[in-house]
């Protein structure tokens, strides 16, 4: 039997200003699985990920990580979680290395040295890791952030547009890192993306999220089959068009 790392049950979110951003999202992710959330701008991807990360409270619904409720056991669950925000930034006056050290200590990992070493490797920044991040390019900062999130080998990694702002080489590298990471650690990953190529390449399963609801969910190959198109991008467009007509 496959072990489910994440169970999201009927998540709803109404923001303080009345925006009904997520209207009943349910899905689960198994060990060693990469799940892709795709959808147009404003569909509710980031809101969903933030609820799973325990950053914002769902108006309704529950989130379980390894069977533990995110809001009832925050400290235990947060240690199991890695979350890369869509628009995260780093501290300009600290070096990349100091970031890795800081977050390793903050999470109270057992072997700080080993964790940081793995982080340096994940970042692929080489000697630049000892530079202050104010000297980094956007892509370098994004890679550092990804390393911060993954170096602890969290059971569940939530990656909100992990390759946003990266060039082709950077994106390819990050995809390799994610793929290798899941193979090695058997962790579960949920990622959101606007890049269908990326999703098709990386994800074992995808959920089309539209207007706060998951409207299609399956293996990429099966979705392509179902819509009778040649790639995920076309399937996506077709699916969305179908819903816009409704």
């Amino acid at each position: 039997m496959v072990e489910l790392v994440l169970i999201a049950k009927d998540l709803h979110k109404v923001y303080d200003d009345g925006t009904y951003a997520v209207k009943g999202v349910s899905f689960s992710v198994a060990e060693g699985e990469i799940y892709g959330l795709i959808g147009p701008n404003g569909a509710g991807k980031s809101t969903t990920l933030r609820m799973i990360a325990g950053l914002i409270k769902p108006t309704r619904g529950e989130v379980y990580v390894d069977g533990l409720n995110v809001f009832e056991k925050p400290v235990v669950v947060r240690k199991k979680l890695g979350y890369l925000p869509e628009e995260a930034e780093v501290y300009g006056r600290l070096t990349g290395y100091e970031h890795l050290e800081f977050y390793a200590k903050l999470y109270g990992v057992e072997d700080i040295e080993e964790t940081v070493k793995y982080g340096v490797e994940l970042s692929g920044l080489g000697d630049r890791i000892y530079d202050r991040t104010s000297n980094y390019s956007k892509g370098m900062r994004r890679r550092l952030l990804l390393a911060i999130v993954l170096m602890r080998k969290p059971r569940l990694a939530l990656l909100d547009e992990p390759t946003s702002g990266l060039d082709v080489y950077g994106s390819v590298r990050v995809r390799e890192v994610i793929k290798k990471y899941v193979r090695e650690t058997r962790s579960a990953v949920v990622l959101s993306s606007h890049n269908m190529l990326e999703v098709e390449y990386l994800c074992d399963r995808v959920g089309f999220i539209y207007n706060g609801r998951i409207v299609v969910e399956d293996k990429p190959s099966r979705i392509i089959e179902r819509y009778n198109v040649s790639n995920l991008e076309e399937a996506f467009v077709k699916a969305i068009e179908g819903f816009e007509k409704k």
Binding site: Y15, A88, E98
Partner: protein, 419 residues
Amino acid sequence: MIGRDISVLLDKELKDLWRDRKTLITTIILPLVMLPLLGIVSLALIAQQPVNVAIVDLDSTRSTDPLLNLTVDSRWLVDNLTYHLHKYGYNVLLANSTQVVSDPDVDVVVVIPEGFSRNATSLKTTAKITVYRKAGYQSAARAESTIHSIVSVFSRNLSNYKLKALSKLAGINATLSALRNPVQAYTELVTVHGVPVSIEVELRNAFARILVLALSFVVTPAASYVIDGIIGERERKTIELLLVSPAPLSHIIYAKMIAATILGIIAAIFDALGLVTYIVLASISYGANIGLIIDYKLLIIHAITAFFTILATITIALPFITRTRGIRSASNVAGIVTTVGIVFFFTGFMIDYVKLSPEILYPLYIIPYVHSILAIQTYMLGYIYRSLLHLLFLAIVSIGLLVFTTKTINSEKLLIAPP
């Protein structure tokens, strides 16, 4: 362990602060250099303000009273005034007519009227001198008081001469002071417990008042640091990664508050050092004994007071800071809190809070700044125990308030700016 994540967070904050040279320079170098510099510059500027004094001698005569064998020449007074005013750096010009009063370039005019020497020598009349001072200039007021003291010395000498001559005529042996000031008051400076003290204690008290005033300089940098630390993390998009960590939000905020307070106390120490430097420089030019004015225990009390004053200020501002949209509106809110503090410290500079009646003072106890002021004022009066009590109260209030207010903030509110 509860403390571990705070120390990790604090370590990061301090690293960041240490590398934030702009903030450090403005809180350390600025008071250390600016306060003495301002003092020197203002002293130098005082000397640089040209004040033009005109003397009009409408008398220009010499009179002698044969009975007293006393001679007075109005030109003697003119020479006296000219000599001393020159010595203090005033420009003196001699004029022939009172027309000179209408000259805008002339700040002070001394008019010696006709009949001056006659009236001054007489036993029946007084010689009157008119000093015209242009309103609105501090420097003119200083020149005026110099003129008055020169005239009063001149007058005392005349009076002494007259008294001596009269007692000689009367054939009596009198002491001058018995005639001039038969009744005199003396002051003995003592502590609240009646122990005699030297004049330096008064100077030390003046220094303590300035320290109270200096508290107003330290609350502002600390408040801006907290704002930048909390709202800035949101605006620079570093906060999300921090909030998702296992560290509770309260610990994240504690670490920032501690860092801000450390910054504040650094500011307090350097403000005090700046003041000390200023006093040293000032007293070198006045030739007073500084060693007695600077009380190191007072500086320690000041530093502790500053610590908790800052903590109380940023704690009061905290719930507002975390509920505002951006750095600017947060600064406005913090500005209101720090202004309240500054107003109180100004009153502390002028009012002896210790002297207020209980009906007025006790209600004021709810304001933390009142305890900051009282901690310093009671210490200066020798009530060490009361001073510590006020510090303790300040500590309990600021820490209690901090624990309470951090509980009212949730990470969702902090992450998402209010619309």
